[in-house]
């Protein structure tokens, strides 16, 4: 079983190197194969982890139920994003297009590799290193389109996230110092060891380490007030990268916080870390719900929805009962599937209409019968509608809050989630479920509506189109776009269908092994 951990750590890296060397067409196929292999390997670990509690390889690689949840989420998104990319990326003829695709595939595989490496590490210092590598690679991926907005977003992202990780490194060092009281001056910073000795750590030091870790890793997770890079990076990155950032990267940072939470709870009890997470979670949820009400840019809207969901995760942790923890971990899985699908849908819309400005978009479902409908479904899932997985997870979190009991917080949670639901669903239905120029008379699209819709901000070519690689896209052309009916690519539909299927499965009837895995992981969080 340990071999699987090594394979998970080696496979994507080999694929990344290969995809730089082989022709683009092969790289396009390699990525989903690697994603499917990673997802398969991760799933094959689940039964063992459920039975034995953990799988280890050597002293540095270790997977327990908690890290398993994050591995499943990341590998699933790796697979679906790779499938989506086949349909989304267009290879421009010429050397520039090939170079772009090579960079993209090499970067995407390294990015996924780093996100898989993080939950595999038993050493907290190496966990930090893996997360820092994700920052570096993903910042380059955000910048890959080489537009003004992409450069701005990448600069903000790399600077703010690196500063955050500087703080997280300080947290690692402070925690290490806490451990020297028990283990002596030199020891391996493995979380198993830290958990075992935690109750002898000095309380002040552990508190400091926890707050620094929430602030530091929270920057990458997108907690308010250190979320400011997030909407820019998510909206300006190429869409497959946005999906990975939102569904997997934020969760990976959350995983790091959970490890610090475990150790802190074992050292000084769970009240303090829960209160810290509550403050950050409420701030995130509140701000994101308000911003969701006024978004025009579709990808930016989904970015704020990510902030909202990270807030829900933090609040769920603050409830401190097993029920809520199970909800939180299920939420991680369901959010990965839902947000991936939503971004894939946004990518499909972007390719079809050449814009993500929702004021200039009408008739989405008319033009994109499959991906448009699934985009609406993904948005409903993100708003926690049954029968999708997020309904189940948020229901568990709120029930956990009521049994904690923190009635006030649970009530605020429900109100703010409802507010976010209004924002998300209003914008999406306006865009997708309306009659668009495609349904009217093609080119003669209602010019009056377009003029009204576009005057407040105008459409800026860089802002509207995320890639410089949309051949023949009339970027910046004013007015509602007249498009013909039909999907952009069947691969996009396949990727979205996978996401919707996973969401439905999680919502209607989670597999027995998965439920047991979540229970185990929740009890790991509960009793250190």
């Amino acid at each position: 079983m340990g071999g699987i951990l090594v394979a998970l750590l080696v496979f994507p890296l080999v694929v990344a190197v290969l995809s730089y060397a082989v022709p683009v067409a092969v790289a396009k196929v390699l990525a989903p194969v690697s994603g499917a292999a990673a997802f398969g390997l991760a799933l094959s670990l689940v039964p063992t982890v459920v039975v034995h509690g953990h799988v280890a390889a050597g002293s540095e690689l270790r997977v327990d139920a908690l890290s398993m949840v994050f591995l499943v989420a990341t590998t699933f998104l790796y697979l679906t994003t790779a499938v989506f990319s086949i349909g989304y990326l267009h290879v421009e003829p010429g050397a520039a297009g090939v170079r772009y695709c090579r960079r993209f595939y090499a970067g995407m595989n390294v990015f996924c590799w780093a996100m898989l490496a993080a939950p595999l590490m038993s050493n907290l210092a190496l966990l930090w290193v893996a997360i820092e590598v994700t920052t570096v690679v993903s910042a380059l991926l955000v910048a890959i389109d080489n537009t003004d907005s992409a450069t701005e977003a990448a600069w903000k992202y790399v600077l703010i996230a690196s500063m955050g990780l500087g703080i997280a490194l300080l947290a690692t060092i402070v925690l290490y110092y806490g451990g020297t009281a028990v283990f002596g001056a030199s020891y391996e910073l493995s979380y198993v060891k830290m958990l075992a000795g935690a109750h002898h750590f000095p309380a002040d030091v552990v508190r400091l380490a926890f707050v620094l870790s929430v602030l530091g890793f929270g920057t990458k997770m997108g907690l308010v007030p250190v979320h400011t890079w997030l909407p820019d990076a998510h909206s300006e990155a190429p869409t497959p990268v946005s999906a990975l950032l939102s569904g997997a990267l934020l969760a990976t940072s959350f995983y790091a916080i959970l490890r610090y939470y475990q150790i802190t709870a074992a050292a000084i009890g769970s009240t303090y870390p829960r209160n810290v997470l509550l403050v950050f979670g409420l701030a995130s949820l509140l701000l994101a719900a308000l911003y969701l009400l006024r978004q025009r840019d579709m990808k930016r809207m989904f970015a704020y929805s990510s902030v909202e969901h990270m807030g829900i995760l933090a609040i769920g942790m603050s409830f401190g009962v097993t029920l809520a923890f199970v909800g939180v971990l299920l939420h991680v899985l369901a959010h990965a599937a839902a947000k991936g699908t939503a971004f894939f849908g946004a990518g499909s819309v972007l390719r079809k209409f050449g814009t993500k400005d929702m004021a200039a978009l009408r008739g989405g479902v008319g033009a994109l019968p499959w991906s448009g409908s699934m985009l609406v479904a993904a948005v409903l899932a993100l708003s926690a509608m049954p029968p999708f997985g997020l309904f189940r997870s948020e229901f568990l979190i709120v029930s956990g809050g009521l049994s904690d009991p923190r009635y006030g917080v649970a009530a605020v949670l429900v109100v703010l989630v409802t507010l976010a639901f209004f924002g998300l669903s209003w914008s999406t239905t306006q865009t997708m479920l309306t009659t668009g120029p495609a349904d009217l008379s093609g080119v003669a699209a209602a010019p009056g509506v377009a003029a009204v819709a576009l005057t407040p901000h105008g459409v800026d070519a860089d802002h509207g189109v995320d890639a410089g690689h949309v051949p023949g896209t009339p970027s910046g052309a004013p007015g509602l776009r007249a498009v013909t009916k039909g999907e952009v690519s069947p691969w996009i539909v396949v990727a979205m269908a996978l996401g919707i299927a996973a969401l439905t499965l999680l919502g209607v009837h989670p597999p027995a092994d998965l439920s047991r895995l979540l229970d185990h992981a929740a009890s790991e969080l509960r009793s250190p």
Binding site: E132, V136, A139, A154, W155, K156, G166, L169, Y177, Y187
Partner: protein, 222 residues
């Protein structure tokens, strides 16, 4: 645990640590981009010296390797890369600070005082370095934040991040010198990778806008 700290060594260490902090203050008001880079190289040199002092006086041989690595990377390689980037840039003046030199120094003094009081209330004891060094390290981190916030050009902001890392390195010398060497090495190489990413994005930014200023990076909002 090591023997009680001899006071002369403690004095030397404190002086080196304070030199690092003063370099951070100097960066805050250095008007030329090249002088920023030079100050960063000097600061990294001071950090390497501090590591050598710790290794020699406390008999932690691992730290020698760390000192050597940090000398090669932070004094030679990183400043060299930054100079190459500056080589084909017309701009020599750092972007305008959002506050005057006097006010920024006052703000930096404020956060330094805060760092000293905050660390003082933690009651951290170290067998390796005097606890005041930890306060200095925290102050370096906070002043680096001030530098990043106040300066509006990509070079100063990147230098701010690198010097923040110097502050964290001092902190790790004080309270976590026993951190296994493998991990320390990975940290340092990680910094190099981050430097490459910063460099690429800075080049892209300069290539697109012919400026190193961040004033134009304000289109994405809301």
């Amino acid at each position: 645990m090591a023997a009680p700290v001899p006071s002369t060594t403690a004095g030397v260490e404190d002086v080196v640590a304070v030199i690092v902090l003063l370099t951070e203050f100097a960066m805050l008001r250095a008007p030329l981009l090249r002088s920023q880079v030079r100050l960063y190289a000097f600061q990294s040199l001071a950090v390497s010296v501090l590591a050598v002092v710790v290794a020699a006086t406390r008999h932690v041989p691992d730290v020698y390797a760390l000192a050597g690595l940090s000398f090669v990377l932070k004094v030679v390689v990183v400043p060299g890369l930054m100079r190459r980037l500056l080589g084909d840039v017309e701009v020599h003046l750092a972007g305008s600070s959002r506050l005057g030199a006097a006010s920024s120094t006052l703000v930096a003094l404020g956060v330094t005082v805060f760092a000293f009081f905050a660390v003082g209330s933690l009651h951290v004891h170290s067998s390796l370095l005097p606890p005041t060094t930890l306060a200095v390290a925290s102050a370096v981190v906070l002043v680096a934040f001030v530098l990043i916030v106040l300066r509006s050009d990509v070079i100063s902001q990147a230098i701010g991040f690198y010097s923040l890392e110097n502050g964290v390195t001092i902190a790790s010398l004080v309270i976590a010198a026993g951190l296994p060497l493998v991990v320390e090495t990975v940290f340092v190489f990680d910094l190099l990778v981050a430097v490459v990413a910063f460099g690429i994005i800075m080049r892209v930014h300069h290539g697109r806008s012919q400026t190193l200023s961040t004033d134009e990076l304000d289109r994405l909002r809301g």
